[in-house]
Symmetry: none
DNA sequence: CATGAATGAGGATTCATTCAT
DNA sequence: CATGAATGAATCCTCATTCAT
């Protein structure tokens, strides 16, 4: 009997795309705040100002919604400018790629965790779009490593997988800690240090000038003199 | 009226400790196989040959049970002989500590995952026994790092936290992949490579010939000659 | 702004009758394939290329739509030529009527099932058009029976209802089995056998004591006397 | 705080078997009154004085419950004394078997309908216990037919399947009509008439020689002569 | 005439937890 | 000590139907 205010109606009736976007946005927030396990369609509906039925009109399944949240987010930050430098020192390029991964992930730690810890376990993960998206992210870092190997600047005697696990293990470990509220961290600094450890390790022997080659050069000198010395003695 | 066989009774009526142990053991298997999300008290009861009510007699809450599972497991492997070498090269000691963490975790990836990804997020985590237990594990590795720093063998310009995150990030990343069934990995090799990267990084050693072994070979010669020399001088 | 192709428009905007017909046709297919329980208005709309709202424009209720599907189908096959033979032997006419029912029903077993098992249970069934239509179908068979009775060729000591139930019970039973995919059946043969059993039963021979044989005996006597009589007269 | 009356408690806590029986009984009533489609677990729970959860404790699925209702009912009446007479005339034995089927089915038309129209359509029907139970029922009738054939008392030129379909088609048709409230019927009479039609058909004559056409031919002759005669008399 | 958008009212199933015996 | 019985409170998902445009 009582006609609803047009304003209310205007808010209620949205074109498909906007509604989908609105749901996705709200759902992303819910996923961020609750995690996938406590993610309730009812809460999304309420916070979104719609009914659960409407959500199910656009997303066949709760899981599908979750996946699309992740995908849309990956879409977003994969679409951001990523000035993939093909030139510059390996160190610069690696730092840059690590920095970018770290900062992307840090922006949505909960979503990332969902993708990396739950979706990745899905039997169908490999056939999801998110799989390709994730490959893209990892690829940006690994391309640098690959290049370095090709140029002989990086060692090729360590398994790529291990190197990858160390870099992303570190990135994720940092992020989860942040997610757990164990304190913030500086993306710059973290990327810097990860790069450093990956490239140079933490041994103190690294000589002032920089690379290992210096040390080797010294060693060669020492060895040579010792040889001479011992030759003269005999 | 019909007396049950004593054997049956014996199995049914257990002293508190044995019952608790039995439940814990079964529950651990369930947690391992199902993960904490699919962990059902009903399944534990059934596989354990008791009733859910009995479980609730000893464990006030499903969560408490889960926590105790984790704690009892940590107890177990923390109790194992860990020949914490205070001597030996930093490399050896670090390798040893990493190897030990990796192999412990790999033995029960699902339990570890539960501890590291779920319990760690609990607001009360810091006041749980498992927190101390986990610190102990991490400590075994970090002690080596600390020592190295003290002796000036390791760089002190990188944040301890970062180093810790890289080591355990790598360890966990490896383990999760294994847990997801993405293929097994060699604990030895993995520990070796993690140690290597952490200590030396992945920059090419730049010795003309190439591999690090060359440098090592040279070093050995030098060392040997020097020993002879000093022996001769005395 | 962008004008749609006229063809598209033509397809979209249909005169009432055509739209109704289109919906009815599609809906019939859906009813056939899914059964009334799995009959979804959404599927009809989609397969029909319209919206559910349009369907509700023409059919106040899902049930109304279902009813009209049934009615339109009955209309169709009741409109087919049915050469109701008023002459010929009762056997021929009965066979013919049974054959016709059987083949009509077999053409749309799912629709028939809906009518006979679900609509028939509706409290308002008797006031539906489909009720009259169904009576027509049954009537075509029962007319033959009635005729046979009138002519004294068929026994009148068995309840009409029972005879009707046997004939249509057999027809429907055959059809449901077919609908369940329990194998096809020959309409010809089935009609033949139903006719046979209805008319003659399955006894191998008319027993002496039985009533029929008495009648036959009498008939033979009568015939004989008449023959004599007529022979004597000529 | 307020202790519940023991009476209430006594009613609430039942041994497993009794609870299962109670649920089954209530559920049977609900199935009878509502049909399987409107069968709500909630209604069963309420009328049974328990919760839905309790029902699901004993019956894994709504469908399982439905199936068990049917099975337990079949069990019941298959357990009743069925004096399967191996002697006596075929007519007596057939009448007896038909009568028994008819009266069993008539006692629970809704349940029967569920079994015969819905379960029978289930892909797994053949592997259900109810399938065997139903075979038993049908078998009791078909055994008589088979016997009659063996003894040469019944024709063997008609397909068994057809005969079966006619008998049970008739039985079911009668029963559905009754279920729809189209009026009661006398089991005795119905069984009598079904037996009669099946055995002897509805033709008014069955001449010793064989086919009905002979009798018809004679009748036509008689009729013709009489017509002539009456014409000649006028 | 046509429909995109929206939803109310379910409805089956799950599971940790309680408690009388 | 042990447990059989019971359930409250969710939670995902469905679908016929309405209505503003």
């Amino acid at each position: 009997m009582q006609p609803r205010s047009p304003a209310r109606n205007a808010a209620r009736r949205l074109p498909r795309d906007q509604r989908v976007a609105a749901i996705l946005l709200t759902a992303r927030a819910v996923l961020r705040e609750r995690g996938s396990e406590q993610f309730l369609t009812a809460e999304v509906a309420e916070r979104c100002g719609t009914s659960e039925a409407t959500i199910y009109k656009y997303f066949p399944t709760k899981r599908d919604l979750l996946i699309q949240i992740a995908e849309s987010w990956f879409d977003e930050f994969l679409a951001e400018d990523y000035p993939a430098r093909a030139s510059g020192s390996i160190r610069d390029r690696l730092y840059h790629a690590v920095w970018w991964s770290l900062s992307s992930i840090r922006r949505e730690p909960a979503l990332t965790r969902f993708v990396l810890m739950e979706l990745r376990a899905d039997p169908n993960y490999r056939s999801m779009r998110i799989y390709q998206q994730n490959r893209e992210v990892v690829g940006r870092v690994m391309t640098v490593i690959e290049d370095g190997r090709d140029k002989g600047v990086l060692r090729a005697d360590l398994s790529r997988k291990l190197v990858r696990d160390m870099i992303f293990g570190a990135i994720e470990h940092q992020t989860w800690a942040y997610l757990r509220g164990e304190g913030d961290f500086s993306v710059d600094e973290s990327a810097e240090q990860i790069t450093e450890v990956i490239l140079r390790g933490i041994s103190a022997s690294a000589p002032s000038s920089g690379s290992l080659s210096d040390a080797v050069a010294m060693l060669e000198q020492v060895t040579a003199s010792l040889k001479k010395q011992s030759a003269g003695e005999s």
